[in-house]
């Protein structure tokens, strides 16, 4: 009985890691609906497992992005002030939901956020480098500048982040959602850096991957105290998500065409709708 559950949990985590890396959303946001809808894991435990797996995926992708120089360490730490503050707010809201047993509300919010997170996937279909904007006061003082060699465009791209306060606001919201739902909310972070701070897509994705570990770790204290980080569920999902996302990013990404990736993104929208319906007691 337990062994069957563990085996299913492992397979579900691999699928979540695979879907997460294919859609570029990471393990966490996909893990929760997969665990809740297919395995009947209570949402609070799914959210706890997702939070921990977010730290693991951030550490593994972060090490790659730091080495290649795509993750900008200064931009990351300057924005982490806002994501960690947001994470405190979010995990406090999660605590209230736990205390008041508002798990259905959590289902609904999660479904909504899942649907919202795929939006950058569609925007991002045409990945262009943003037009260079002259640095404003904050950003030149904080040195949000850098350059990288773009493999696809075959040229050196120079960038300079702007509108730091707008970036902070976006990051606070991203941190809040992250603390509330136990996800990295990478999609929101990328939006804040791409659209808000005018950073190239590759820089914002890599910097966001590096940052989500810090955000998730900040929320982990309250999650731990609430007892929703279940050692067995986490112990199985971490290796599972690793296997899935490694496989996805290494091989499948090269084999998959854009159409197939769009289909996967649609699958996530359907999962989101299912979660919302579950929250309203219409399904499951």
């Amino acid at each position: 009985m337990l062994l069957t559950f563990i085996a299913l949990l492992f397979v579900a985590s691999i699928i979540a890691g695979l879907l997460g890396s294919l859609t570029g959303l990471g393990g966490g946001v996909v893990l929760t609906p997969v665990l809740v809808l297919f395995l009947g894991v209570p949402i609070e435990y799914a959210v706890g497992a997702s939070l921990i797996s977010t730290i693991a995926t951030s550490a593994s992708s972060g090490s790659r992005y730091i080495k290649t120089g795509l993750a900008h360490m200064r931009i990351a730490i300057a924005l982490e002030i806002a994501t960690t503050t947001g994470a405190i707010t979010g995990s406090f809201l999660e605590y209230i939901i736990e205390e008041e047993h508002l798990f259905k509300l959590l289902d609904i919010i999660f479904g909504g956020v899942l649907i919202f997170s795929v939006i950058p996937n569609f925007i991002r279909m045409k990945s262009e480098v943003p037009v260079y904007v002259n640095p404003d006061g904050f950003s030149s003082k904080l040195r949000f500048n850098g350059s990288y060699y773009d493999e696809a465009l075959k040229k050196e791209v120079t960038y300079h982040g702007v509108r730091y306060p707008l970036g902070l606001l976006g990051m606070y919201i991203a941190g809040l959602i992250s603390g509330l739902l136990g996800i990295g909310s990478g999609a929101l972070k990328v939006l804040a850096m791409d659209l808000g701070m005018n950073l190239p897509f590759k820089i914002s994705t890599a910097t966001s991957s590096f940052m989500i570990g810090v955000t998730a770790a900040t929320s982990s204290g309250i999650y731990w105290a609430l007892g929703i980080i279940d050692p067995i569920i986490v112990g199985i999902t971490i290796p599972g998500v690793f296997v899935g996302s490694n496989f996805g990013s290494r091989y499948l990404n090269k084999l998959m065409n854009r159409r197939l990736r769009q289909i996967f993104t649609l699958v996530l929208i359907i999962l989101g709708i299912q979660l919302i319906l579950r929250g309203f007691d219409i399904f499951g």
Partner: protein
């Protein structure tokens, strides 16, 4: 050693330590007691000092994982101190303080 190498090495070593503890604990759990209700255990009432409990070993792995971002931010403090970059020393100390407050202090305030 330059800063990028240091941080990326920290991340990789952290992952290796944490995942080996988690997997070791899980395997021990499966060998020793495989007929428990999963949701009976949780982090808020498990005795961390009971080394013979496989679940405690998994939790050590999780603690190691949570420490990775803390370690990275503290390394950033040191890096900016060496670079004498005042603004960034302040920023990274602030982030570190917020994290320590959220992870260690806030749960105690809320739960009591």
């Amino acid at each position: 050693m330059d800063e990028k190498k240091l941080i990326s090495l920290t991340l990789r070593i952290g992952i290796a330590i944490s995942s080996s503890l988690v997997i070791l604990g899980l395997l021990l759990f499966l060998v020793t007691n495989s007929n428990y209700n999963i949701y009976n255990f949780n982090t808020s009432n498990l005795n961390l000092l009971n080394y013979s409990n496989p679940l405690a070993i998994i939790l050590y792995g999780i603690i190691a994982l949570i420490s990775i971002p803390l370690l990275v931010v503290s390394e950033q403090i040191i890096i900016y101190l060496l670079e004498k970059d005042k603004i960034y020393v302040i920023i990274s100390v602030l982030v570190f303080t917020i994290m320590v407050f959220a992870i260690l202090v806030m749960p105690k305030i809320i739960m009591h």
